[in-house]
Symmetry: C3
Subunit: 228 residues, 3 copies
């Protein structure tokens, strides 16, 4: 697959290192409470955001939730249903569609259904939980590609989403390169520490040796020494 | 296995389609919060209900929880402990017994223990969680085969219970055939849509083509056209 | 492995039997809410306790969390972060270190990260959940080897911790032998009952036959009959 080089770099990193890089830059990105539903899956892509709202009693126009026809490949769908646990906004049809169109994963601030299909297809789905009750006549599409708020974090369309067994995070597009550099330095530092302790060093010695206190300094050093 | 033909039809459907059929008939059946404890397991059977209550301080007669001797094969035990997370009402002895006597699964409005045994036997167990602390001297059997309330839904003895990776639901016995017809039409419609999108149709086109808005109409059309 | 004989006996028992033994002695040991993060893992060892506290705004001295250098083999680390879900106190470096140094498992009253690594190494980790956001600059080490409070239970350094798919419990060191005797009798009784029901006995008959009401009596009988 000829992926965007930034996404390739991002996809090689885990959420822990990326989160440390976000922390070092003072950016809140962790989407607390959204959990991996299929063990062993992860995803990395540009956020395509979807906002649901409760069905209004007065009726009015209800957008059909066929937004997925417009979602580009390499996207991660970020579907915000306000954390509702009683009405699903994801199921087997969307999972089949996404799998076939190169959509790389889905985050739900709420619940999903048809988890047997999702697991069988190995589709990366992250949500607050599972339930089988449809969103139909309970919630309706409000808007797509607008900022959505999940666990106190604003996710904007085009933010980079990374999700793995530890959870989900959003990286603002404008900070992506800075985050990547720091996260790569964090991972490199952590690999060095793990290697050192596998050779018998104490954790304290290994951390001092590899400057664990500010692992991203490495990136800055590298920046100064290299022609980028 | 010579199962009841209605249970056979029911067992071929997932909870999502059955829930859509219940929705179309205005019946609340989803038991929110009860989750699959062993990946890959599902069950379908007639509810045998069990109601627990806190142990009273004044003592009095305590029914021994040997109710399981009376549970017929093809039952799903629905054990209501009021959502308590600190006292189990299911464990390894009951799991072995149920597995050997043709009881097809258990739902607990509360917690279960001996999950290693449950997983090893591949027994379909659905509960709010897991804990190892016994219900003994904490809760006692109040009654069996009475209506029980779980997540706001009344489950009656003999209701049909279906549970899979998406969760658990109860279908009132009197509505079972109507629910089955609609759920089968829903699944057929969804299979058609999935086939159409696999051939490149947009979701909007596939849904319009297959009348996703009211999939159960199919069943009614079929009903009119067929001698049943 | 030449393990402590008491730990060997303990490791052969599941948390359910040990909890019943604790109940019979009036000891609260179940650590509600801490859940197995890697299916199929369990652990048994002496508690090495770690207490975290929020980072104070006024700064002051922050202990580096290199306590793990001091943790003896055969320990289970019990890391109390007051149930916080937004700041991890366990990750891949600690998992690698623990795996290589004979530390047998970790309990977190809070969350952990790098769950992909934890799963890959098959490390027994039990926690309230998962998140990737570091504890760095959010929490700091307060003390090690002090009593910690988890879900209302005080865990003391040196308590025996057992954890499996049903959850986690702590056994006070002074009561360990009494607990082991009773738990072994409970498991023996349960095995007898399971054997009897596999031969067709009703549960009521099997329980009466094997004195399920007070399984630990067996241990006392044995005590009287044997020279220990």
């Amino acid at each position: 697959m000829n992926r965007d080089p930034l996404l390739q770099r991002c996809g090689a990193l885990d959420t822990a290192s990326l989160s440390d890089a976000l922390d070092s830059l003072g950016i809140a990105g962790g989407l607390a409470g959204l959990q991996q539903q299929v063990p062993g899956t992860r995803c990395c892509g540009y956020a395509y955001t979807v906002q649901y709202q409760p069905v209004s009693e007065h009726g009015g126009f209800r957008n059909a939730a066929n937004y997925i026809d417009e979602v580009p490949a390499d996207s991660v769908i970020v579907s915000c249903n306000g954390g509702r646990l009683d009405a699903t906004v994801w199921g087997d049809i969307l999972t089949h569609f996404a799998s076939q169109r190169g959509i790389v994963g889905t985050l739900i601030d709420g619940v999903a259904r048809d988890l047997d299909t999702v697991a069988q297809l190995g589709y990366p789905l992250f949500s607050r939980g599972r339930f089988m009750q449809s969103g139909k006549n309970r919630v309706q599409l409000k808007a797509v590609q607008v900022p959505v708020r999940i666990s106190g974090v604003i996710v904007n369309p085009g933010d980079v989403i990374v999700a793995d067994a530890s959870g989900c995070l959003a990286i603002p597009r404008a900070q992506l390169e800075a985050v990547l550099e720091r996260a790569e330095a964090v991972e490199s530092t952590e690999r060095d520490i793990i290697l050192s302790i596998s050779r018998g060093l104490s954790l304290e010695a290994a951390r001092q040796l590899h400057r664990y206190d500010q692992p991203w300094l490495k990136a800055q050093d590298r920046q100064q020494g290299e022609a980028r």
